[in-house]
Subunit: 355 residues, 2 copies
């Protein structure tokens, strides 16, 4: 049932959250409002809130784009269904969408940024029905946990698809223990990578990744790119693996040191996928790409059509969510933002509506 009003935590201006009740808008025939069961807190939200990164819809608006919920009105095929709301909703009607690149559709809408004032830190959200992704049977995996599929898991999946990752591949994840990186590590293993090396400056979290896809880990603090390379070489020697060709490197940190290390590790017929966002420039001799026959791929979001494969990996346990996700009541949003901003959270937090 569609309520008359929607409870929501709006960002009224950067740095300020207010609990508000907003009248439910008139719904178009292609809209399927969802009752929200959980919305993940992502660093993108924190960038809008703390760092002055502008949202496309000017405040006030509701942030939040990792949403799982239940459809309460709209097309029959979706009514009453549990769904994940993709973080990027393509227009499905332009050249880019028709070319299968809808994740970078220029008319795309993002909950918590450009879907009018609507986002996931709310009781309900009106969304276009076309791209909602129904959730399969998920014994033992709470629906709220599946909220993080909408960005933290599908973004790495799409990154892996762009790199044509498959059985036998050798992978390095830079930022392997972070909110997105930990899933990047799991996705790589889940898609059949033979070897996954995790690199992260959070040694404790990184150590944990050995149980979730990482074969070998490196804490790069105090080490030069050359030192890191040597560690990889010596690991390769011990395992009988080639060190200097064919590696697929995923840079998830978006930091300059992370990107510089990624570029330094790139070699013959290698692939470097830029997953993390940062605003600094790096310097590189482009002709090395030529000499290496290598490529550098940037990746943005994930087409909704690929969500079912990711949900399957999550509900089947090939990707573990529980150790990396915790739920907290949405009424604690301000405190959770503060903790996330100060790196005080061990897991990705999904806020569940209580208001």
């Amino acid at each position: 049932m569609v309520p008359d009003a929607i409870r929501t935590w709006q960002m009224t201006e950067p740095g300020r959250l207010e609990s508000r009740t907003v009248p439910t808008p008139a719904l178009g025939p292609d809209e399927a409002p969802g009752e929200i069961r959980g919305c993940g807190v992502c660093h993108t939200d924190l960038s809008y809130f703390y760092l002055g990164v502008p949202t496309i819809q000017k405040p006030p608006l509701t942030l939040g784009h990792e949403i799982a919920g239940v459809v309460v009105a709209g097309p029959e095929r979706l009514l009453g269904r549990e769904v994940v709301v993709p973080a990027v909703l393509p227009c499905n009607d332009c050249d880019i969408c028709r070319a299968g690149r809808g994740n970078r559709c220029l008319g795309q809408k993002m909950p918590g940024n450009s879907l009018g004032i609507w986002g996931g830190f709310a009781s309900h959200i009106p969304v276009p029905a076309a791209d909602l992704c129904p959730v399969p049977a998920h014994d033992g995996v709470p629906l709220e946990h599946l909220a993080v599929v909408a960005d933290a898991v599908t973004t790495p999946y799409q990154a892996a698809r762009r790199a044509r990752l498959g059985p036998g591949d050798r992978v390095v994840v830079i930022g392997a223990a972070g909110g997105v990186g930990s899933f990047m590590t799991q996705v790589a293993r889940g898609m059949g990578a033979d070897t996954v090396i995790g690199i992260d400056i959070n040694a404790a979290k990184l150590e944990r990744m050995r149980g979730y896809g990482a074969d070998f880990t490196i804490d790069p603090r105090g080490k030069s790119s050359k030192d890191v390379k040597e560690l990889i070489k010596s690991y390769c020697r011990s395992r009988g693996l080639p060190a200097n060709y064919g590696w697929k490197i995923f840079e998830v940190t978006g930091t300059r040191p992370g990107q510089e290390l990624a570029l330094a590790l790139l070699s013959f017929v290698g692939t470097l996928v830029v997953v993390g966002y940062g605003t600094e420039e790096t310097s590189y001799m482009l002709s090395k790409l030529m000499a290496f026959d290598a490529e550098l791929i940037g990746t943005w979001g994930c087409p909704p059509a690929a969500y079912p494969q990711v949900l399957d990996m999550c509900v089947s346990g090939r990707i573990a969510l529980a150790p990396f996700v915790e739920t907290r009541p949405m009424s604690e949003i301000a405190r959770v933002f503060e903790q996330a901003h100060h790196g005080a959270l061990d897991r990705r937090v999904v806020l569940t509506p209580d208001f």
Copy 2:
């Protein structure tokens, strides 16, 4: 018939050519010596000769890697056949070769660089038989002209394949009028590109490319990247084409200004292919690749298995060789090197043995 000795112009040291006669070596069972009918002069040869770029085989050696000839001994299937000798000869027996990336095989041999002392500026050359590429019927296209297929035409073809170039594509070639770039322009058109914009600082040569694949040309001298972008935008407006997404950019100059322009032109779901070699670094915000969902691809040589498609394009006239190639007697090699080094040649020169 295999001669007892091979006539050759050897680079005895950088900057010095000598006519020498070398005893024909004992040939292995997998070798098919070719009588050389023509060998193209490439900027790579000039880099070894004038710029101190080291060859893998230390001098004395014979330069030249764009070779067409006739097989005079070896396997029955090749005997007497006209062939092109690929510029990059993979080992065909390593992980990289098995993955279809033989053009970047780490055990590869290159005539005029790492195939022992042997290169194309000679009467004959002993080469591995496995990758020789038989030439189809070529009415009206002299065999000597087909020598340039071995690098100047196959390298752009492979670049286009890496960019998945096909019908309907919009292409920019930076360095569109040069030795490789003019074929890049033709290859793009020949593979079905809808729009090809040629950019080059040689205005006269560039103008000629309008008859060979370029729909629109830009001389970037005295123009900022922004100016060039504006010219492209206004061309797109006049043709009803989208300016800000989906362009495939081929950087053939290897210069820093060329690479900087290429990076400035890269936009949404775009592709930049690094074809030209240079040693300078450029600075770039890697996260733009992420925001654009774009990619940067380096490409090296071309797998011999792709040569037949390129030869077909040349003999069928989809790629015109005659206006871009001229033959000169091999005895003029020193003069041709000098002229090429000083940019005094209008066409790619193929040297034909006369000694």
